[in-house]
Symmetry: C2
Subunit: 355 residues, 2 copies
């Protein structure tokens, strides 16, 4: 008589929301932490729900900067210096597009990167949804971690963040007078968010349907992470897709976030300009308040510690993702807090402030 | 009292049909010859009617090899060594497409070249006809000749030459067993035309409408040139567009061609494989017979001279386009023959053999 070997313990289901560069770096640290052995943490599997609202069509190519930043970063193809785009990149196509007088020229499209957009654009035109296209692109990258990774667009529908620019003195803004609506990328990349935004609108978000697996990844998660991505145009936009915020409120999994703000300034990027547009101060506490209805734990810099009350565990930790080791340590702290909250059954009804 | 200055003489209207590499080189020589001063020839303007039947969609990009070969060659962007594609080209996109497992890989798409295809594809998707797209692309190139140049696709409709491959021994053809239909480019580029073609069909040609200005350029021409392009898949395909052959028969302009064959072998390329597919011997005389209903003059190599009878002036000349000077001399001989035929009113009804 033989007995079946004991079933292996089910992997810990980790679900993370993510924007671009900062989110991607955090996720790489997270996978590094999850891969570590001898930590006492269970084996895990990671599902990433990616923002797609900064997607843009340029020269007929569908460009998904956040999906690509995650894909390239996890797959080892990222330009580490810039934090986005491909390493050892060339600009043969872009230089020639400029010679043809094609606009815009302010969005950098490297040659290797263009290959990604060509594949994506062709598959989308053939009728495949972005989620399926993304899964196929990821096959080329095969993130080299023990922990399996899925990358899900927040939606297969087209959502594009637009920005209403305030009127400004053109002399002070390289000829830009403002008073018009631009794609988020034009505000972010061309104007470096230096012209104030009067309004930031993820056009199409309210009518978008969550992508395949998105709601399930939240509902079925054991733990949920909010990396230090932009709270307005990255995490905020994912939360605008109908059903996602509700799923995060309803899930049994504890939700822990990492502040994208240290001491009144964004860790990276220009999140302060986005927060200003929605009238929110650039503080770790104010950003936590944006997630008040769904957040159980919040990692902040030492100087930003505050009392979160019974509903929110505020944990001071070094937030700078200066290298992979520091990032992995930060992610490990977030995971450990999540495991602790989960073990304590911390997520009970009424545990959190209502939105 | 003043008198108006005499009107300048109208430029000589030269119309040429053209395929890719060979046609493009001949046209560059032609423009060089037309630009020469002190020759006694009148100032001219050139209209090129380009084959589009070797066009192909690759990775979602619309590629027009013959139009581009003419455009790059006349505009100074051609790779002189290969005779096609851009000079100082790189392969960042193509290498990455291969890394994504994208097929085919046998068609070389350089980065600079891809920029052309991106612009073209976008404009076509926006609804512009190929003729307008081509005119816009040509603005970037501005051929540096005194003689103005127009480049007209033979049609704005989609025509693609397909080839029925004979069944062959895969061991002798790198695994290709034949017995199937492929795009002309696959036969030409991947198989180097080494698998015999049972049939060559310009799909869509019979229903295509001549592009804007095409019939007018033939009817209104002072002289018409057939460069030494492939008589089957380049010139032959242009002649298949309804109305074009008829216009060439009906025009008052004399028509002079340059043989693409020297002593039983094609000057360049694999025209013999195409001629074999339609059961025509690879001789200068047999190619002339393909044009019998419209040809007034025929430049051949010395060893290929034959008596064309009263309808066809056969002129032996060195045909090798070894450099621009040799090509310009060949083109000048063709132009001078055309001017002579025109002055003699050689193109009278009944002057030519009927088709």
């Amino acid at each position: 008589m033989t007995t079946a070997p004991p079933a292996p313990p089910r992997p810990l289901r980790v679900t993370a929301l993510a924007g671009g560069v900062g989110g991607a770096r955090f996720l790489r640290g997270l996978l590094t932490a999850l891969d570590e052995t001898g930590t006492g943490r269970p084996a895990a599997e990671l599902t990433v729900i990616s923002n797609t609202a900064d997607d843009i069509t340029l020269h007929g190519l569908r460009v998904c900067p956040d999906l690509d930043s995650v894909m390239y970063t996890l797959g080892g193809g990222i330009d580490e210096q810039r934090g986005w785009g491909r390493s050892e990149e060339t600009s043969g196509v872009a230089d020639e597009l400029a010679a043809y007088g094609q606009r815009p020229t302010w969005f950098t499209l490297g040659d290797k990167d263009i290959a990604t957009h060509l594949v994506r654009t062709r598959l989308l035109r053939e009728g495949l949804p972005l989620s399926e296209v993304t899964a196929r692109l990821l096959q080329r990258w095969r993130p080299p971690f023990r922990t399996p990774v899925r990358l899900l667009p927040m939606t297969d529908d087209v959502v594009e963040t637009h920005v209403d620019l305030a009127r400004v003195d053109p002399a002070a803004h390289h000829g830009e007078a403002g008073g018009r609506r631009v794609h988020f990328q034009e505000w972010w990349v061309r104007l470096h968010a230096k012209v104030p935004a009067e309004r930031i609108e993820p056009v199409g978000a309210d009518a978008a349907r969550p992508g395949p697996g998105v709601l399930e990844a939240v509902a079925g998660a054991d733990v949920v992470l909010l990396p230090p991505s932009n709270p307005v145009v990255s995490i905020g936009t994912i939360l605008r897709v109908p059903g996602v915020r509700e799923a995060l409120r309803a899930t049994a999994a504890p939700v822990v976030g990492v502040s994208p703000v240290i001491g009144g300034a964004p860790v990276r990027g220009m999140a302060d300009a986005c927060l200003a547009a929605i009238g929110v101060p650039t503080t770790a506490r104010a950003v936590a308040a944006l997630y008040a209805d769904l957040l159980d734990g919040w990692l902040v810099a030492d100087q930003d510690a505050f009392d979160g009350g019974p509903a929110l565990r505020v944990l001071p930790r070094p937030l700078l993702m200066s290298d992979t080791a520091a990032t992995a340590a930060l992610a490990a702290a977030a995971i450990d807090l999540l495991l602790e909250l989960r073990a304590a059954g911390a997520r009970r009804d009424g545990d959190r402030a209502s939105a």
